[in-house]
Subunit: 461 residues, 2 copies
C-alpha cells in the first residue's frame, strides 16, 4: 500500500510539475520577445522590400541574385558576429513567354489558364494540339493502357482532398500527379500532360511547382503544365459532353546550364558553447509567378527577425545561432544540401535546426523530428506558449532545407502556421505581399524566437 | 494513509477519464459534421449571395430588408420544422453623401479619409473647419481643460495596443474614444471629434462603428468621424510641425424614425425535450461600408449551416435547436433584446445559446459563460476537438445578441476564431466577401455544429 501511495504521489507530482513548469523568468523573456516582434518588428518591412522591390526569386534569376545582396546587407546591419555568403551552384530554368492554351470544339475555342511546371520541357514552337484523356491518378494509366493514351494529352484531375483538416496532407495526397505525371504518361505515349492545380480553392490561378522526368531519355520528355482549378473543372465538364475535344498548349520554357548562387548566412557566436550550432532558416528562392511572399519570403524574414530580436534584447546565446537563407529549395534543394555538406566538412556540431516554410500565417505550433527527451522538454514548455495561442506540438517532419542536416543528436523543427489559406497562394501569381498579414507574420517570428531561446537556455539532449 | 491513497487514486482516475473521454461514436459523428461542412457546405455560397447580391445591411436599409427575405427563403428550403420572422422596431441612421475632409495649412490642402461614426449628427451644410487638438485619452481632456479645447476639433489618436495577442482586448482598450469621445469633448466646448480608426493595420480605410451622446441635449451633440490609421498618423505628424493647422470635415448623416424589421428564425423541434431551446446565431445587420462579410455575414451563414448539417446528417436533436439571425446588433441590439423578451413572455426554457460574431476566420475555440459543471464537461470533450485544431476553451463572454438571454441555468457561448485579421476589416469598406476564406468559414460552422451536437446529446447542467 505504501509503495502504491508513493507511486501515486510521484505520478501526481509529475502532473503537477508538468503544469507548473512556467518559470516566471522564461515567461517574462518570452513576453519581451513578443513585445519586440509586435511593436518594433522588422520582418514585415523586409518582406515588403523582398516582395515589392525585388519580386520573384527563382534560382538563377536576377531576382534571386538581388535577394542575396539585399538580405546580406540587412544581416550586415544587425551587428551579428559574422555574415557571409556560401557559394552553391544552382539549376536555372526559365519560363519564357507566357503560355497559351485553349480548349477547341466545333463551337470554337475557349482559353484556359495554364502555366508550365518547373523543369518541364517546351512544346514545339507551334504548340501541341491533341485529344484529352482525363484521369484521377497515375495508377489509372495502367488500366487505360497505351491504346487509349497514345497521342493524347493526359489530364490529371484528382483534387486535393477537402475533408483533410491539415491542407499539407491534402497536398501530399495529390502532388504525385504534378511531380510524376509527365514521367508516367510518357511511358504510355502521351504527348503532353496537364495537371489540376494544387489548390483547394476554385479560381483562375494556375499553380506551378517542380516536376521531374527521372531517367527518361530526352526524346520521351513531354511538356507538362498546371491548369487552374476553375479551368480543370471546366475542361472536365466539357469532356463529358464532348470527349473528342482538342486541347492546345504552347510553352517555351527552358533548362539552362547551372549558375553560381549563394546561401546567405549570419551568426551570433555562442558564449559558452560556440562550437554548438543552431540553424534558423527559410529559403530565399521562390517560384517565378507572384513574388513568393508566403513561399518563402515569410520564412526568410522571420528567421532574420529571430536574430534581430536577440540583438535587440541583448540576449547572448550560449550556443552559436545562425540564420541561413537557403537558395534553391524549390527546384533542386542545392542550398540545403550544400550547407549540410559544408557543416560536415568543417566538423561543425549542429544540434538544432528550425525551418519556417509553410507560409506567414498565424503560427499554431511546431513539429519535431527529435528524441523523446527533447520532445518531453518541449511539452513541459507548453504553458509558456499558451498565452500566445501556440498549442500544437507534434512529432513529425521539419523542413526540406534543414533535412540534409539530419543525423543522430540533432533536433529538427518545423514552424507550423495555420494551413487553411496556404494553398490558395502556393506557387501561384497571387502569392504576393498583400496576402500576408503583418501580425500573423510577426507572431510566427516571435514563436520561433521563443522556442530557440528555450532550447538555447535549457540545452538540446 | 488509506484515505490518502483513495484520494490519490480518485484524482488519478479523474485525470485518466479526462484524457480518455474520446467516445468513438462522438468522434465519428464529429468527423461526419466536418466532412459535410468541408465537402458539401453551403455557408460560403450563402455568404456570396448575402455579400455580393445584397451587400451592406445597416438596420433600416433596403439591404437589411433584402437579407431578411433571402435568409428566410434559404431557411424555408432546409426542411426545418418552423421558420418565421419576429418583428422588431429598429433605429435607422443614414450616412448620406460621402464625407469630405482635409487638412489645411499655408501650403495647401491634403485630403483625409474619414467616415461618420454611426449615430453621429451631421456637420452644418458647409462643414466645420477648426484647429485640432490631439489627445490620447478621454481623461486627457480634463487636464487640458475648456480653455485649450473650446472651438477646436478633438482628435483622439490612441492606437489599439499591438502587443496584446487577442486583438479583441486591444479593441476593448481603445474603443472608448470612438463610443464616448464626442460626448466627452462636447462638455469642453469642442466643435467636432475625429477618432483614429479601430484597426491595428496602417492603411487608408476609415472604420465606422457606433457612438453615443448619452443624455447630452441636442444642441451639444457634435459631429464625430473616424479617420483612417494612415490619416491619423499623418495628421499627428503634421500637428507636430504645425499645431495651428486647420481640419475640415463635412458629413450629412442623419437619424430617422425607427422602422419595422425582423429577426429571422428557424427551428428543428426537439424529439425528447422540445420545450428546451438552443439558440445558434449571428447578426444579420452590418455597417454600411463594405458588405459585412466578416461582421457578421459569416456568423449568420455559419449558424444556418449548423442546422443544415443536422438535416443532412438526419440528426434529430433531443432539444429544440433554433437558428436566430438577429437584426440591429451594430447600433441598438434591438433584435437581441426583442428575442429575449419574447422568450420570457412565451415562457420558453432557453438552456444554451451560441453566437458567432468574431469573423469567419479559422476557429480556435469557444468562450463560455456557464457554471463549472458544464465547463468541466466541455474540457472533457477537448480530445474530440483536437484533430480539428480547436484548442481554446475558456470561461468568458459570449456574444452581444445572446447576452439578453442571460439568466440562471443558461449556457452562453461565443465562437472564438483567430483574431489577428479581424480588425483589418471590422466596420470598414474592405469587409468584403474576398476577405473570407471558404475553408476557414466552413471550419467555424463545423466546430459550432460539433459543440451543439455534444451539448444536445449530453445535456446542459
Amino acid at each position: 500500500m505504501k509503495q502504491l501511495t508513493i507511486f501515486l504521489i510521484s505520478v501526481l507530482f509529475s502532473f503537477q510539475s508538468f503544469s507548473q513548469k512556467v518559470n516566471s523568468e522564461d515567461s517574462l523573456a518570452i513576453r519581451k520577445i513578443y513585445d519586440i516582434a509586435l511593436t518594433n518588428g522588422k520582418s514585415y518591412e523586409w518582406l515588403d522590400y523582398l516582395s515589392n522591390k525585388i519580386g520573384s526569386r527563382l534560382s538563377g534569376s536576377l531576382g534571386a541574385e538581388k535577394a542575396v545582396i539585399y538580405t546580406e546587407s540587412v544581416l550586415n546591419e544587425l551587428g551579428l558576429d559574422r555574415v557571409w555568403l556560401q557559394p552553391v551552384m544552382v539549376p536555372k530554368w526559365t519560363r519564357g513567354l507566357p503560355e497559351v492554351a485553349y480548349i477547341e470544339t466545333k463551337n470554337g475555342k475557349t482559353n484556359a489558364n495554364i502555366c508550365a511546371l518547373g523543369g518541364s520541357v517546351a512544346t514545339p514552337e507551334n504548340g501541341i494540339k491533341a485529344e484529352v484523356i482525363e484521369v484521377q491518378s497515375l495508377a489509372e494509366l495502367e488500366e487505360l493502357g497505351e491504346e487509349k493514351i497514345k497521342g493524347k494529352i493526359v489530364f490529371y484531375n484528382r483534387p486535393m482532398q477537402a475533408d483533410l483538416i491539415n491542407t499539407f496532407r491534402a497536398y501530399g495526397g495529390a502532388v504525385d500527379q504534378r511531380y510524376a505525371g509527365a514521367m508516367a504518361a510518357s511511358n504510355y505515349g502521351a504527348v503532353a500532360v496537364i495537371v489540376r492545380s494544387m489548390s483547394l480553392r476554385l479560381d483562375d490561378f494556375p499553380h506551378t511547382g517542380s516536376m521531374g522526368y527521372g531517367d527518361l531519355p530526352e526524346e520521351m520528355r513531354i511538356p507538362s503544365a498546371a491548369i487552374s482549378t476553375n479551368g480543370a473543372e471546366y475542361l472536365s465538364e466539357m469532356l463529358k459532353s464532348n470527349p473528342s475535344l482538342k486541347f492546345y498548349l504552347k510553352q517555351n520554357c527552358m533548362t539552362h546550364a547551372d549558375v553560381q548562387s549563394y546561401n546567405v548566412i549570419g551568426e551570433i557566436t555562442g558564449t559558452t558553447n560556440p562550437d554548438n550550432y543552431f540553424v534558423i532558416g527559410g529559403h530565399l528562392d521562390s517560384w517565378d509567378l507572384g513574388d513568393g511572399s508566403h513561399d518563402d519570403g515569410a520564412g526568410c524574414v522571420q528567421s532574420m527577425e529571430v536574430l534581430r530580436i536577440f540583438k535587440e534584447l541583448n540576449y547572448k546565446p550560449k550556443n552559436s545561432i545562425r540564420v541561413v537563407l537557403f537558395m534553391n529549395e524549390e527546384n533542386g534543394l542545392r542550398g540545403g544540401k550544400k550547407y549540410a555538406e559544408e557543416a560536415t566538412k568543417n566538423n561543425e556540431n549542429h544540434i538544432f535546426a528550425l525551418e519556417s516554410d509553410s507560409g506567414g500565417f498565424t503560427p499554431r505550433g511546431f513539429s519535431f523530428d527529435t528524441n523523446n527527451a527533447n520532445f518531453n522538454k518541449v511539452l513541459s514548455w507548453k504553458p509558456l506558449f499558451k498565452p500566445y495561442f501556440i498549442h500544437s506540438f507534434e512529432k513529425g517532419g521539419s523542413g526540406a532545407d534543414i533535412g540534409p542536416l539530419k543525423k543522430e543528436g540533432i533536433t529538427l523543427v518545423g514552424l507550423r502556421p495555420d494551413t487553411q489559406r496556404y494553398f490558395d497562394y502556393h506557387h501561384a501569381a497571387n502569392d504576393t505581399f498583400d496576402a500576408v498579414n503583418k501580425r500573423e507574420l510577426e507572431l510566427g517570428a516571435a514563436a520561433m524566437a521563443s522556442l530557440v531561446f528555450l532550447f538555447d537556455k535549457y540545452g538540446v539532449e
